[in-house]
Every structure is written in structure tokens, then in C-alpha cells.
């Protein structure tokens, strides 16, 4: 699931489905997403460092995965539910402002 501005940029509606090969990790999910929608390159992860942008967070199954290691397998229950299509991997624009 993408923030509204990134849906507009990628010209998609609703949730986006991507195919992930190998271990289900944060990096694998985001690599698959950027491969399918190259316009998202640099909008979620910094182009130079590859790190999560400061105002982006990752959630799934009501767990905050933002600070998990990018190459660590997603937690078992989370991975299973995402793989089954029961729950989205959520890319969220952090709430900020007044």
C-alpha cells in the first residue's frame, strides 16, 4: 500500500501487487516495487544511500517494521500473511506538520 502522492506518481489505484522471489525481506519487497514502477526510485529510499527516507515508515500486520534490517526476513507471521495476500506491506508517509 502506497501513500496517495506515490499512487498518483505511479498512476495506480488501491493496493499494488508485486512478485517477490527468494526471502521476503523489506529490501526484496521494495526492489520488486521499484522494478515494477521505476518512477518510485528515490521516493521511498534515498537514491544515493539506499536508506529509508526520513519521513517514510513501513508497517504490516500492525507492526512497525521501519527500523528493521532491510535484509532481515520479515517476521514469520507477517511474512506469511503478506505472502498470502491477506495483509499489505504498507509504505506510509509520516504524519508531520501542524
Amino acid at each position: 500500500m502506497l501513500p496517495a502522492h506515490l499512487k498518483t506518481l505511479a498512476r495506480v489505484h488501491g493496493e499494488v501487487g508485486v512478485q517477490v522471489t527468494g526471502n521476503l525481506t523489506q529490501r526484496a519487497v521494495l526492489d520488486a516495487l521499484e522494478s515494477a514502477y521505476p518512477v518510485l526510485l528515490g521516493t521511498i529510499r534515498d537514491r544515493g544511500t539506499g536508506k529509508r527516507r526520513a519521513f517514510i515508515r513501513f508497517y504490516a500486520c500492525e507492526e512497525d517494521l521501519s527500523n528493521d534490517e532491510p535484509d532481515a526476513p520479515l517476521p514469520g507471521k507477517v511474512a506469511a500473511r503478506i505472502a498470502a495476500g491477506d495483509e499489505p506491506f504498507m509504505v506510509v508517509g509520516a504524519m508531520a506538520g501542524g
Binding site: 502522492h5 506518481l9 518512477v39 526510485l41 528515490g42 521516493t43 544515493g48 527516507r53 519521513f55 509520516a94
Partner: protein, 369 residues
């Protein structure tokens, strides 16, 4: 038939304003890229249908958009502005070293001859070039690695490369707060050209770099004559930046951001005086453009059609432009969301749009349909 097109970048999207040559009635389209900051939009002189826009937010970073049909439809192109060499360091506000870090593109300058060639000025200050319509960008590293770069500070708006003047192979670039730089070899090597600029508040006011240049303009017929609105002071150079002299003359205040040159009169200039560096609004709440027909020094206020009481907006550095019609048009946008235009070289003004978001940039195009 002739169409005039105004490209207005704002903090909440880009707007395209169009009119016929009379410039009396304007149609506004937009917001394009609603909700994003559009620091700059500019058309190619070689193909006016080709437009470029710099789209950015703190959340999602930098996007470059391109239109091939005059702004009706847009497509994102390349956004990889990774530094080509080790970032190096500049000075932070407190004088501590800080690595260069890419934040956004402030200014896009398309080539006069090739619509696929564009130069882009970044924050932190760096210059990029594309030769494929924005699909890929290459940093011209000679500027960011200039011998003075470790002494550059950010201005209040960031350490931005905001002015690019193309006279290929000669290029001028201006950075806040570093100064003006000139390359005579297409951007490979650079020289600081700031002699004569004075800057209160820095240890050596005649320093080679460290000057808070707000904007620089040039008339195409006089490539060696540059006009500058500096943090304080309005300046000119008649030797391609080798030396500068002050032309503030009788301005009520010489603080401001934009400066523009009349398209057909190379000694006719426009500035918008702002009260001071701590009061970013016009003196006495009166929005006045000042025009000099003598290359500076002697200035006259232009007020007809502009608010002359209770106006406390600013006009930012890239938010003033001229068109090229015989009776020249002059345009500017305000931080209050108005875009004003004059179809008679500044004698009279009228709002083209009143209630846009904060205007960051204004550019004008004349199109033969």
C-alpha cells in the same frame, strides 16, 4: 496567432497561465503535481512545447517532470542526482563542517539550441546536466569541488544553486551564500567572480566567496553585462563578473530577491525592494516594482495596479520574468499567491491570478501558434 504562457511554480503545485498577445484575459490550469513543491518550471527556447518542472517534497524527495505538449500532459523523467565524486564538506550555519547532501533542484535552465539539453542547479549547491531530455543527469563536479567550496555557507533558504546563465561554452552560476562563479569551458572548471561585492557580517567583506547572491540576470545582446540583486545591494558587472559596482542609487531599500532585464532595452532593469533581511515585505506595505532605464543608479517606482497599502508579501528570487513581445510583458509572483503582470513594460499592472499558493518561480514564454 501568438500565445503567452506563464509557468508558475508554487509550494502546492505548478500552474500554467495562458493568454493571447493582448495579455488581458488569462486562463489558469493546474495545479499540476498538486501537493508537491514546484521550485521551478521552464520551457525550452528551442522548442516551446518542451517544458521541465522540478517537483519535490520532504517526504518523497526529488522528481523531474517533462511535458512535450506545452504543459497539457507530463511524464516523470530521471531523478538520480547522486554526486559524481565524494561529497566533500561545506560550512553549516554555526561554522561547523557538514557534508554536501542533495536535497532538491532549485532551477532548471534548458539550452537555447537543444530541447534535450538542460542544466539543473541543486541544493546543496551542485550543477547537473542532461543531454537526453532529463532521463539521466550528470554532475559537473568542478563547481561543487571548487577550492572555495569548503567555505560556502547556506543562506536562509538553504545552500542553493539558484541562477544558471548559459552562454555556451561559458556558464555563470550563482549560489547562496557562496557567490557567482564562471566557467569558460562548459562547466568543467570554474572561477569565483565576486570582486567588488561587499558583504556585511563575514570576516573579510572582499572574500573570494561567501557572498549571499540572490539572483543574477543578463541581456542576451550584452553577454558581458550582468545585473545582480544581492542580499543587500543591487550590482552590475560589465566585464563578465571580473568586477562589480553598486547601482542601488535611489532605491528605498536595496534588499530584495529578484532582478529582471527588459527584453529589448538592455539598460532597463526591474527589482522589487523589500524592507530588510529581517522584514521580508515591501516598505510601508506598498508593493512597488522599481524600474531603471539607465542601467541602474536612477530608479522609478511602478505602482499602478499594485496594492499600495497593507501588502506584506515577498517576491522570491526566481519569481520574476519578462516576455519577448514588442511591447514587453513583465511578470512576478508573490508569497501571497498573486501573479501580477504588465503588458506595457511595467507602467501598469494587473493580477493574472490572485489566490494561488505561495509562488516560488515565474517564467514566461511567447509561442507562435
Amino acid at each position: 496567432m501568438t500565445q503567452v504562457r506563464i509557468l508558475a511554480g508554487t509550494t502546492k503545485g505548478g500552474f500554467v497561465l495562458t493568454s493571447d498577445a493582448k495579455r488581458e484575459k488569462w486562463e489558469v490550469s493546474g495545479p499540476h503535481f498538486g501537493g508537491w513543491e514546484i521550485y521551478h518550471m521552464k520551457g525550452s527556447p528551442a522548442d516551446p512545447r518542451r517544458l521541465y518542472a522540478s517537483q519535490n517534497t520532504g517526504w518523497f524527495g526529488q522528481i523531474i517532470q517533462r511535458s512535450d505538449d506545452g504543459g497539457v500532459t507530463w511524464n516523470p523523467v530521471g531523478n538520480d542526482f547522486t554526486y559524481a565524486t565524494e561529497p566533500g564538506e561545506h560550512l553549516w550555519y554555526d561554522d561547523t563542517p557538514r557534508p554536501f547532501e542533495f536535497k532538491r533542484i532549485w532551477h532548471l535552465e534548458p539550452s537555447a539550441s537543444d530541447p534535450d539539453v538542460v542544466y539543473a542547479g541543486g541544493e546543496d549547491a551542485a550543477l547537473y546536466r542532461t543531454a537526453d531530455g532529463g532521463s539521466s543527469w550528470t554532475e559537473l563536479t568542478g563547481l561543487r569541488t571548487h577550492s572555495t567550496a569548503s567555505q560556502w555557507h547556506p543562506g536562509a533558504g538553504g545552500m542553493c544553486l539558484h541562477t544558471i546563465i548559459l552562454q555556451e561554452p561559458r556558464i555563470f552560476a550563482a549560489i547562496s551564500a557562496a557567490g557567482t562563479f564562471r566557467s569558460d569551458d562548459g562547466g568543467q572548471t570554474w572561477r569565483a567572480v565576486n570582486r567588488g561585492l561587499k558583504q556585511d557580517g563575514i570576516p573579510n567583506p572582499d572574500a573570494e566567496a561567501g557572498h549571499c547572491v540572490h539572483h543574477v540576470e543578463v541581456h542576451p545582446s550584452r553577454p558581458d553585462t550582468l545585473f545582480m540583486q544581492k542580499h543587500w545591494d543591487v550590482m552590475r558587472s560589465d566585464d563578465a563578473g571580473e568586477s562589480w559596482t553598486e547601482i542601488s542609487g535611489n532605491l528605498p531599500t536595496d534588499f530584495g530577491f529578484p532582478i529582471a532585464v527588459h527584453p529589448h532595452e538592455p539598460e532597463t532593469l526591474y527589482v522589487v525592494p523589500i524592507t530588510s533581511d529581517s522584514l521580508h515585505y515591501p516598505p510601508d506595505g506598498r508593493l512597488r516594482v522599481y524600474r531603471s532605464r539607465t542601467g541602474g543608479g536612477e530608479w522609478e517606482p511602478l505602482t499602478t495596479g499594485l496594492p499600495q497599502q497593507d501588502c506584506y508579501h515577498n517576491v522570491l528570487r526566481d519569481a520574476m520574468a519578462v516576455d519577448t513581445l514588442e511591447e514587453a510583458g513583465v511578470y512576478f509572483g508573490t508569497t501571497g499567491g498573486q501573479v501580477y503582470g504588465s503588458a506595457d513594460s511595467g507602467d501598469t499592472w494587473a493580477p493574472l491570478a490572485r489566490d494561488l499558493p505561495r509562488v516560488l518561480s515565474v517564467e514566461a514564454q511567447v509561442i507562435a501558434l
